[in-house]
Symmetry: D2
Subunit: 380 residues, 4 copies
Amino acid sequence: MTHRPIRLGMVGGGNDAFIGGVHRIAARIDGCFDLVAGALSSTPEKAQASGAALGLSPDRTYDDFKAMAIREARLKDGIEAVAIVTPNHVHYAAAREFLKRGIHVICDKPLTATMADAKKLVKAANDSDALFVLTHNYTGYPMIRQAREMVANGDLGNIRLVQVEYVQDWLTQQDDSKQAAWRTDPERSGLGGSTGDIGTHAFNLASFVSGLTLESLSADLQSFVPGRALDDNAHVMMRYEGGARGTLWCSQVAPGNENGLRLRIYGDKGGIDWHQENPTQLWYTPFGEPKRLLTRGGVGTGDAAARVTRIPAGHPEGYLEGFATIYNEAAEAIEAHRDGKQVSADVLYPTIEDGLLGMQFVDACVRSSKRDAAWVKLAG
Amino acid sequence: MTHRPIRLGMVGGGNDAFIGGVHRIAARIDGCFDLVAGALSSTPEKAQASGAALGLSPDRTYDDFKAMAIREARLKDGIEAVAIVTPNHVHYAAAREFLKRGIHVICDKPLTATMADAKKLVKAANDSDALFVLTHNYTGYPMIRQAREMVANGDLGNIRLVQVEYVQDWLTQQDDSKQAAWRTDPERSGLGGSTGDIGTHAFNLASFVSGLTLESLSADLQSFVPGRALDDNAHVMMRYEGGARGTLWCSQVAPGNENGLRLRIYGDKGGIDWHQENPTQLWYTPFGEPKRLLTRGGVGTGDAAARVTRIPAGHPEGYLEGFATIYNEAAEAIEAHRDGKQVSADVLYPTIEDGLLGMQFVDACVRSSKRDAAWVKLAG
Amino acid sequence: MTHRPIRLGMVGGGNDAFIGGVHRIAARIDGCFDLVAGALSSTPEKAQASGAALGLSPDRTYDDFKAMAIREARLKDGIEAVAIVTPNHVHYAAAREFLKRGIHVICDKPLTATMADAKKLVKAANDSDALFVLTHNYTGYPMIRQAREMVANGDLGNIRLVQVEYVQDWLTQQDDSKQAAWRTDPERSGLGGSTGDIGTHAFNLASFVSGLTLESLSADLQSFVPGRALDDNAHVMMRYEGGARGTLWCSQVAPGNENGLRLRIYGDKGGIDWHQENPTQLWYTPFGEPKRLLTRGGVGTGDAAARVTRIPAGHPEGYLEGFATIYNEAAEAIEAHRDGKQVSADVLYPTIEDGLLGMQFVDACVRSSKRDAAWVKLAG
Amino acid sequence: MTHRPIRLGMVGGGNDAFIGGVHRIAARIDGCFDLVAGALSSTPEKAQASGAALGLSPDRTYDDFKAMAIREARLKDGIEAVAIVTPNHVHYAAAREFLKRGIHVICDKPLTATMADAKKLVKAANDSDALFVLTHNYTGYPMIRQAREMVANGDLGNIRLVQVEYVQDWLTQQDDSKQAAWRTDPERSGLGGSTGDIGTHAFNLASFVSGLTLESLSADLQSFVPGRALDDNAHVMMRYEGGARGTLWCSQVAPGNENGLRLRIYGDKGGIDWHQENPTQLWYTPFGEPKRLLTRGGVGTGDAAARVTRIPAGHPEGYLEGFATIYNEAAEAIEAHRDGKQVSADVLYPTIEDGLLGMQFVDACVRSSKRDAAWVKLAG
């Protein structure tokens, strides 16, 4: 990055939040952003304490996001972009305030808590000149870029099968932590439990790599833990346009799994296999040849992976670097926007449309499951 | 084995067959059987040549299984048991001849090619005093016995999820080999392609370990290779009695997979994970504790595994030993039968009922898939 | 095997022994041998009980190996070969009796307990027309044959490095079991503890695959467990003729290792990596290309592996099959001998010379270690 | 970090360097440092261009490190610390200039190119009030901290064996790249090739985790590539004070290895196993219990790992985070120094003494190898 860092604000991400800290590291790793303002909590005291802890200037530590949007938009050196890292039900209201003032939005997923909000947010984004970036961060892993490039290059032939799973165990039993509380609360999380929290990641990743469009799905959702209002496990069968089929399994009740996001794609000429927990490896089998282990930075990887690779092979880059890549892509797009230039076609980040698709995916899962796993189309 | 070996005949398994050789090794490994007669091919010349190659006496090398059944039943030292290793559509006719003459049958899976045959075979088995053993050989692996014992002991708590897959790649493209030909031919293989050939193994294994009874399923079957008459891939969602859910994926068109049979079971107290290609390992995670690697013969394994373990930990036993264990179990049951004793409850082998369940599973998959993956119950 | 099985006797391997049972299964798996006689224990009662348990005829169950050798040599249908599976210090005396009567010997390793015995046994073998086969069984694994063929074909280029280790943990603490007792007793085991028991396997395997001849070694041996008379851990640096270097580590006191035999060989064009505990896989990296996973029976494997492969890829063959391959090789050689034919060059089994090399290896380790790890040459 | 970032300068790390970029990311990830000055290349033009590319102010972009040290020391807001990331032979001269002006030094390893320089640098560091931090970055991995804590807690019992290896393949053949050129040039790299570049890392890591002090070593060094002046492979046997033994293997000519740094430590009560390429996992086997997989952030990990863990289990932290932890530790120490406080005992970073030990290790390897792998003591 030879340009000056982009001035960034943050909504949410106060002292006891988790994902805000991740966004801050991601924004910082490659020096593309400079965090200068924040409305870090809905509680004024926490907001102030959190701002101080992060070294924000007191006059740029806000008690609410609307005040931040209004004032920062007027400042000569106000924020150019904002990261929204609140629980889902706040995404829409917050994003709207910045979008309508021309401030770029980098928003955590899923897009919103409700489909109604999602549609309004799409409209708000479309009405704005500002960019909207959704942090489906797993698309930032170099070997995921590699996989996508290989599929696009036809290395796997005609795609037949997409198998994706995202399996965790942290909600196996009743959990009253803050992190668990909002994720299992329909008011704050939305229609989907595991489907919204991690299923959307899996769905997005499968689409990103395969390049396929989902036609319909059949979903069987469960809430295994007594009293849980949202799904904690989901089995989904998928039909893609063009004839490919797939399955998606997401679960938060499978003991022994931390963040078991795995993607396998098979065509008539080859297959690939990738695991998030060891993301520097991509298994590739051209049909009729021995299996090959492709590694981040290693021989046999192409331009798409190299573009987002920081260090040589054998020294693992991890989750934070993948997340940072989404921030870097946002930065490139924001700079192009600032300079009135076309952003390079290499720059890839999840958009508001991907966010809407994710909402439609959750909605379709819920609708299908209520109809005994009938096939339903994405709608919205 | 302190007793004399059991006299064994074989139907099918001639020179160019595959699974017959496996059965012969399995019968021999622990010295429990002595192969003394065979009707090894439907072509008389091949039958004779194959018998000679195996060192069978010419007068006990038969041109057809019926002749063998009739004569061996009359011999003083005639065969006590017969292994049937033909293509599926011959199983019924062959088994019937031996069962009705009191000769024990060890039969390859699936039970038959058609549901009608399956029902007739169940009747034949029930009408006979002879034993019927189906070689769902994967149930013979020590760590599968370990897993089953752990589930039964409650180590996983209440079972919620059963995820099983059996993935191969050898039919990814058009294949005209003998092995491929009959497996993709409805006349010889039956209703199911991948569902019959490997899906039944996966279904049986999941049931064996979990101890659960399938209530209904929703299946989406595909024939990806143009012109293929039977399914080469299947996605199945499962509902077990008592509320557990699961998925089963079987495929023969997923490049990079040889015999990727994997079983994962999760309860409210723990989870297990097992792969057939490295069968000496069983991953076990008690919820809230670190993952543990249990190994065949190693510390932390119990009586059920020890009973079928030949050599100490770290020296892998493989597929043939697992298969041999089914033969050993058959031998124990046959000896008990011979001696008029009750067979020990530890002796475990797949029965005719398991075979019928496998047929019902394939039938249900096909019925469900034709109805757009509607939920159907096993019937038959 | 189209020929009649070879008549086999056994010395050692009574009821409470371990390796005898392994030899019996190995002899039986492919039907090449028929066990018909035994001197199974040095205690007459145990010898008789063990023979009965194995179904041996009482008149061919002997109280001592010499009586067996004398009588069997005179029988019309006497044994053609004998398996010697006693503790090391008995190998020489037993083998001599059979060799001098023209009965082929299949002997467990290491060759003998003392170098003096080893030399006498070499002489006895050389003076006899009978064959001598040493069961360095790991050379029977298909992927080890594959590795050897690749090295010989020049796939790795000029060999520079040979890294081999054989690591166990069962002697980590004081152990008074029968298995442990004789292995840690110089009288019965010989000069070497871990070096003799497992170091010889590692040394033999490295030589077998690399095709290299050891020039000298520098060894640092330890007996970590107080009171242990023999080494339980050894670090060895090796210099091969032609300039290749290597290390060998054997240990029986490394908690978490069962039978961790691993071989890595590197040349100027490529490298390979193999683990005994998952023996169906061989990693191969041609320098400058992605790593490839070669599998037993899979694409990319050659004739040498195929020759000793029983079943298709993905269904693991294990330790017993590898062991059986040594027996099969012995059978082929014995048949060729019987028929007065030259045995095929494909037939590979460890010989008396390999056994002597193993003894020289242990001797050199002990000599070097006493001289503070000075470089010493193999001698003997 | 609630405090203001520490003002950092950098010597070396210009546009075409590798490790400088790593240091910059490491300094930035957790926001503890702010890069404000640099003497980034020995070529003035490159120095200026590199400074501009990093957004440094032109008046703080220096042509040489001495000028930087002099001026920055006088500035009111001059740098508080400097990162030295040049080839090894420049370390001493550069570090001296900053140390004598009270500017803290964070220096890449190995300490210097020559032992003479190392001794002078130790004196310079001891004479200065400023801190000296050596970036043996692998000690920053959370699971390495976990391993160290477990050893210290006695979880492994009395340590007997330390096995460490660091294996690469990038120098398998003649390589004329800039990265290869200086590393294989005695003038710029020093006495050691692979021993200096990666062997010192392995040695340091083994010492850090085991807590053991090396007593003597026996080393056999090779330069396999014709014409190479420095070792590209080394086999080292080690004797630690107190009786533990070990081996160290470092290589840059082993095809198929990227950054294969692996550490195994065994005591009389348990063993651990860790691989740098998948650094979030630590295998732990209490003797007589099943092997356990400990994961970064997962259950079963203790305070030492938690202290340097950023994100929950299952989302891999990698090399850059581990490197950043060394920077964070430096920052904590620098802040304590600034505030006149004692730094917490939890703060762990490699010191000038570790650097001297590394030099002594290389020196001892070279001395031993020249004397045919005689045992030598570290000396300096």
